[in-house]
Structures are given as structure tokens and as C-alpha cells.
């Protein structure tokens, strides 16, 4: 709802505001340094005087005032919000993949003795171990993490793989090689997922047949099926073929194709963008500045500045930042150093031959973490080459 036009007309037609407040009062008003009575008086004038409002507006500092919370972490931006969601999805996928990879590694090491039919009793022992390992605990865990939809999709994928196995058997071994060549060297989640389904089937086969030799054949067949299924998945996405060649794309592609249709809404490109966004957010280096009141400020985006508490009653005049090494100095020779981007501060008291630095520090220049120079209001230059442990003074 807007204000009625007559209100604007009458507002413009304000009474004569009288004497303008001087720059002292306007400055104190802008800096919130006026007592209530004076502030009301100045506000009363400003409400009527466009000229003074203009001056107050022009004299407002360029830098935004520090806010209580950084926007970077407030996730107000839709991009960041979606990035966070994407990060969660990526995290879940990576964790699931890691767990699946662990299971398959166990199975791969167990597969060789199984294929060897010489020692049937050893095979039975290993079968028992493997059966124990393939008990539904890890799968149940994954199912609890993933949604019901994911489990359903995995069942469908298992059914597809069985159908593909039949096709593969029909096609013969000659077809295996080109299909295998199309598979990336690293095991993809699609492969892992299907291998897990096959392992489930294997378990059933073990239980029902109990034959080590037969199990060996089954394992070989399963490997073929998994390979062809993976190739099928790669072929089913012709538009993404180029992306699939990119090593960075393998994980997200596989994640979206193998582990779940539930992640399908987040495309590979979106994931890369989200990842780039996150990288940018993580890589942000803080910028340092001093307010007009001599307070140290830090900004991650150059727009919002956050006051960084260093020491009580210290008024700073100069700041230097080299990576995480921050030096800040000010009135009465007060000098503070942080080597962790402002998390912790240590007071440094430069002194030469027992004579401490008492003049105002008006300039700090550090070329690296060790070598630095202070300039003081009495035109002295203090230099250090050991990160402030010892100092030399020059007039």
C-alpha cells in the first residue's frame, strides 16, 4: 500500500526548518553519537530539510556497516541454498558409494578362492564368511539412508541386469570384450549397485545349492552381467557421452544413473555448478579494513563488513594481511598479530634496547610472514625479520 498523494504533497510542503545543524551534529547523528534529546532535534530538522538529508546521505561511509551475521553463511541466496542441497546430495551419494565400494572390495578378495574348486571345505568356510558379510545389515543401512524409491529403483535395475545376463549369454563371449572396453577403469556406482544385487542373488544361490563350483560359474556370469549392464547405462545416455568422458563427470554421472533415480532432478551440470559455487565459497579470502572508529573489520564479499574483536579500547590505524597472517596496529603503539586469519590474537610489544614503541602506529607493511615494517606517527620506522620477535628502529 502506498502513501496517498496528498500526504506527499503536504510532506513536501513542510514548514521552514530554521537553522541547519552544523557538520558536527550531522556527523554525530550519522554515527549515533547524539543524546536522545539532540537526536530528536536533528531528526525533526532532517524530516523537513531535503538539503540536510542530502548531506547526511552523501556523507554516509562507502562501506556497509558490519552486520551481526555474514550473508555468506545465512544461505539467503537461492544459489547458495540450492548449493547446500546439492552438497548434501553429493555427500550422501559419495558416502553410499564409499560403503558400496568397501563391500565389493571384500567380495573381490573373497571371489578368487571361490573360483578355485580344489579345496571345497575352504570354499565352504569362505562361503560362510561371505554370507555373513552379505547379511542384510549394510544393505539395510543403505536402505534406511536412501529413500524407498531408491530401493525400488535398485530392484528394477537388478531385474534389468538379469535380463541383460540372458542377452549376454546369448551373445556369447565375443561380445564381452568391446562392452568391457566401454566401461571406465574405475568401478562405477552403477556397477557396484548391480554387483550388490548380484551378490544378493549369489547368497540365495549359495543357500539353495551349496555348490562351490557352481558358485564360481555364477560369479563369472555375474561379472559379465554387471559389465554389460554398466555399458548399457552408458549407452542409454547418448547426449551425455561427452560428459561421461570427462573424469570429473564420472562420479556424478554414475551417481545419477546407478545409485538412484532419486537424484535424477540434479543433473551433472547442475552438480558441477553447485560444486564450483561451493568451491568459490570455500576459497573466499577475507578482506580486512579499519572503520573510521579504528575498529578492525573483515569482509568475505566486499559488501558486508564484520567487526573483529581484537582488544578492548584499542583504536587501530593500520592493518596488514598476508594470507592468514594479520597485523593490526594503532594508538599508543598497540600492535596485535594473528596467524589464523583473525581467530586468535597476540599482543606484540615492539621494543629496542628496552625502549618500547609508544607512538601511534600509522602504517604496517608485511612482505611475508617474517618480514615487516611499522611506521609511527613520530616518523620512526620499526622493522622485523622474525615475525615480530625482535625489532630495529630507524628515525
Amino acid at each position: 500500500m502506498g502513501v496517498p498523494k496528498i500526504v506527499l504533497g503536504r510532506l513536501r510542503r513542510a514548514s521552514n526548518p530554521g537553522n541547519h545543524p552544523g557538520p558536527d551534529l550531522l556527523t554525530a547523528f550519522a554515527e549515533q553519537a547524539l543524546a536522545k534529546r539532540e537526536r530528536l532535534h536533528v531528526l525533526e530538522h532532517l524530516a523537513q530539510c531535503s538539503e540536510c538529508r542530502e548531506i547526511v546521505s552523501l556523507a554516509r561511509p562507502e562501506i556497509a556497516e558490519p552486520q551481526t551475521s555474514l550473508k555468506l553463511f545465512s544461505l539467503r541466496s537461492p544459489i547458495l541454498r540450492w548449493s547446500a542441497v546439492a552438497a548434501c546430495v553429493v555427500g550422501a551419494v559419495v558416502t553410499t558409494r564409499h560403503l558400496a565400494q568397501k563391500n565389493v572390495e571384500t567380495r573381490v578378495t573373497a571371489k578368487a578362492p571361490f573360483s578355485d574348486t580344489k579345496d571345497a571345505s575352504q570354499g565352504v568356510d569362505l562361503k560362510t564368511d561371505l554370507t555373513a558379510k552379505l547379511q542384510p545389515q549394510p544393505l539395510a543401512k543403505q536402505d534406511s539412508v536412501l529413500s524407498h524409491g531408491l530401493a525400488k529403483q535398485r530392484k528394477e535395475a537388478a531385474a534389468n541386469s538379469r535380463a541383460l545376463a540372458v542377452n549376454a549369454e546369448k551373445a556369447g563371449t565375443a561380445k564381452k570384450e568391446p562392452l568391457a572396453a566401454a566401461v571406465p577403469a574405475a568401478p562405477s556406482p552403477a556397477l557396484l549397485s548391480k554387483a550388490m544385487d548380484q551378490e544378493r542373488q549369489k547368497k540365495i544361490t549359495y543357500d539353495s545349492l551349496g555348490s562351490a563350483a557352481r558358485t564360481s560359474d555364477e560369479a563369472v556370469m555375474n561379472e559379465t552381467v554387471a559389465t554389460s549392464a554398466s555399458a548399457e547405462v552408458a549407452d542409454a545416455r547418448p547426449g551425455k557421452a561427452k560428459d561421461a568422458k570427462d573424469p570429473r563427470m564420472k562420479a556424478p554421472m554414475a551417481a545419477s544413473s546407478g545409485i538412484g533415480g532419486a537424484v535424477a532432478p540434479v543433473t551433472a551440470n547442475q552438480m558441477i555448478e553447485s560444486r564450483a559455487e561451493l568451491n568459490r565459497a570455500v576459497d573466499l579470502t577475507p578482506r580486512w579494513n579499519l572503520s573510521s572508529e579504528g575498529i578492525l573489520q573483515r569482509s568475505f564479499d566486499g559488501r558486508t563488513w564484520q567487526a573483529v574483536p581484537v582488544a578492548d579500547n584499542a583504536i587501530f590505524r593500520a592493518v596488514s594481511a598476508v594470507g592468514p597472517e594479520i597485523w593490526v596496529g594503532g594508538n599508543g603503539g598497540s600492535l596485535y598479530h594473528s596467524s589464523d586469519s583473525g581467530q586468535h590474537w597476540t599482543q606484540v610489544k615492539p621494543a629496542v634496547n628496552g625502549s618500547p614503541l609508544t607512538a601511534d602506529i600509522v602504517g604496517i607493511e608485511f612482505a611475508d610472514a617474517q618480514h615487516g615494517k611499522l611506521t609511527t606517527s613520530n616518523r620512526e620506522t620499526w622493522t622485523t625479520s622474525d615475525a615480530g620477535q625482535s625489532w630495529t628502529r630507524e628515525k
Binding site: M1, G2, V3, P4, K5, I6, V7, L8, G9, R10, L11, R12, R13, A14, N16, P17, N19, H20, G22, P23, D24, L25, L26, T27, A28, A30, E31, A33, L34, A35, R37, E38, L43, E44, L46, A47, Q48, C49, S50, E51, R53, E54, I55, V56, S57, L58, A59, R60, P61, E62, A64, E65, S292, E293, I315, R317, D360, V362, S377, R379
Partner: protein, 309 residues
């Protein structure tokens, strides 16, 4: 400490050990700036006399003197008095800032440099009165930061220059800008109820707190953004947004209520409020008088003189 006058620092020192300790801390600096303690105490007295109410309570006095930027005040006054050491420090601290601020205000490098140079001359005090150099820094009273004060002084100078330049704009330029041949405002005879609406609006506006009127004027007349107003008042942007919404509703409600009290029906009142302001009788002369009747910053020179004194 020697006995001082009514609003003097001595009395403040008695009730405010904090100020006393600050004065002691400053002693080394004021001496470095070439400003004696007695001289500085006299300056504080003068500032107290200017800003404190006639019979200030001890608490008021204490709070007032505690809020002053004593170190910056000492530096500014020492500069105004022409102490070389103080000027050296001032130059180190503020010269670059002065040019940066001017660049921010003027938005154009040559204009910014000209603006900063002219202010610098004023600060240094190129003119003399009764054999004494008049420095603009003598009017700094430590109410806000010296940097903030420099910003305000630069902004004032910029606005003054703009106004002067506007008076010198040629008719050709005005014609090009469409000012000269702008359509005349229709002058309609004011209807009887217009006056009632205007009076009701004035009444509603007068009932608002000064800060609300400032927000309204900044937003609707000066076209400042919510963020700009919020930064001036040091509140969040959404606070200003909510306040504007609330103000619009409150004003409408109050004006309608006043009009109904004055005998209008609800419908009549609403129709009257919807009427375009251009259809109302507006005294242009009075409107313009706001801009010109008061001498811009008329108290500037008086302050400078006071500072000199």
C-alpha cells in the same frame, strides 16, 4: 586542576574519573600536538557551553564529555592553532582519506580533486581575520569522528557547489532539459473539502514521530532506497520496509478518521483521499521557500568564529 566555569571540565572531572583519566592519557598527545592542558580544558568548556542545556545534570555532563572524541579534538584544534607537528600527523592520517572521500562523493576524479583541494585550503585556513588565521578545523567539536566530520564537510561543500552551479545553468541548457517549457501546473479553484483533507493530512503527519517523517521523506521525496535509509538509521532494511507499510496504513486510517470527525461520510472521505494532489491548491511559493528561505549552513561561520574564540 584550576577552578573552571559552570560547564567546565573541572566539575566534569570531579564526577567522572573516566574523563579525568582520559585527560591524563591525552596529556602526552596534547603536548606533542603543541596544545597545553589549560588550552584544551578551555576548549572543552566552550564545547560544553555550546551543546549542554542551560542547567545540565551531573549525569548529562558526564555522558556528554565521555562521548567526545578527545584525541581527535585535540589534533583538530592543534591544527587549527597552526601547530606544525599536529599538521604532520593530520596529513599522515587524513590526507589520503580526504581525497578518497571526495572521490566517493563527487564520483569524478577532477571534480573530486578540486573539491578536496578547496576543503583542504579551508581546513588549513587561507583567510585571516583580525590577524588570525581562520581554520575550518576550529569548528570541530569532537561530537563525532574527525573522519566523519570531514565527510560531512565535504558533502556540504559539494551540495553548496551544486546549488551554485545550478543557478548558473544557461537558459539553453534548461530548454534542452525541458525545464523552461515544462507544462504549467493546473491551477484549479480549491474545493471546500480539499482544505479539510489538507488539514487532516497535516494533523496526521504532525502526530508522527520525527523519525517516521524522516523515513517517509527519504523514501518518497528523496527516493532513497530502503538500504540507504536503513544504513543512515542503523537498522535493518526490512525494518524500514515494515515501517513504511505501517506508516502508509496508519496515515490513511488517521486521515480518514479525522475527515469523518469533520463531517464527511466514509465514502466522501475515501474519495477525497484518492484525489490527485495536483488537483489541490498547493502554494508553490511556500514550497520553494523551504529551499531558499534559510541560509544554507548559516551557522557555519558563526561556529568557525566560536571555534576561533
Amino acid at each position: 586542576m584550576p577552578a573552571m566555569a559552570q560547564n567546565g571540565v573541572q566539575s566534569v572531572g570531579v564526577i567522572s574519573p573516566e574523563l579525568e583519566s582520559r585527560m591524563a592519557e591525552l596529556q602526552a598527545k596534547t603536548q606533542e600536538y603543541g596544545l597545553g592542558r589549560e588550552q584544551f580544558v578551555a576548549i572543552l568548556n566552550e564545547i560544553g557551553a555550546k551543546y549542554l542545556p542551560p542547567q545540565p545534570s551531573e549525569r548529562e555532563r558526564g555522558e556528554f564529555f565521555a562521548s567526545l572524541r578527545l584525541e581527535e579534538l585535540a589534533l583538530a584544534r592543534a591544527c587549527a592553532a597552526g601547530h606544525e607537528r599536529a599538521w604532520e600527523i593530520f596529513m599522515v592520517r587524513y590526507r589520503e582519506k580526504l581525497y578518497d572521500i571526495a572521490a566517493y562523493i563527487a564520483k569524478e576524479s577532477s571534480a573530486a580533486r578540486e573539491l578536496a583541494d578547496s576543503i583542504y585550503a579551508d581546513l588549513y585556513g587561507t583567510g585571516t581575520r583580525e590577524g588570525k588565521r581562520i581554520s575550518k578545523l576550529a569548528s570541530y567539536t569532537g561530537r563525532g569522528s574527525l573522519e566523519g566530520w570531514l565527510r560531512t564537510v565535504l558533502a556540504q561543500e559539494y551540495v553548496n557547489r551544486y546549488r551554485k552551479q545550478r543557478r548558473l545553468v544557461s537558459l539553453d541548457e534548461e530548454s534542452e532539459a525541458g525545464v523552461q517549457f515544462a507544462a504549467a501546473e493546473p491551477e484549479l479553484a480549491p474545493a471546500a473539502h480539499d482544505l479539510r483533507v489538507a488539514a487532516a493530512t497535516d494533523e496526521a503527519l504532525a502526530a508522527l514521530p520525527a523519525e517516521d517523517r524522516f523515513v517517509l521523506a527519504s523514501y518518497y521525496l528523496d527516493h532513497r532506497t530502503l538500504a540507504e535509509i536503513a544504513r543512515t538509521l542503523r537498522v535493518h532494511e526490512s525494518t524500514i520496509s515494515r515501517r513504511l507499510d505501517k506508516l502508509a496504513k496508519t496515515l490513511r486510517k488517521q486521515i480518514l478518521a479525522t475527515l469523518r470527525r469533520k463531517g464527511m461520510s466514509r465514502r466522501q472521505a475515501e474519495e477525497a483521499l484518492q484525489m490527485d494532489v495536483r488537483d489541490l491548491h498547493v502554494d508553490i511559493r511556500t514550497c520553494l521557500a523551504q529551499e531558499t528561505s534559510a541560509k544554507p549552513f548559516s551557522d557555519k561561520k558563526a561556529e568557525a568564529q566560536a571555534g576561533e574564540g
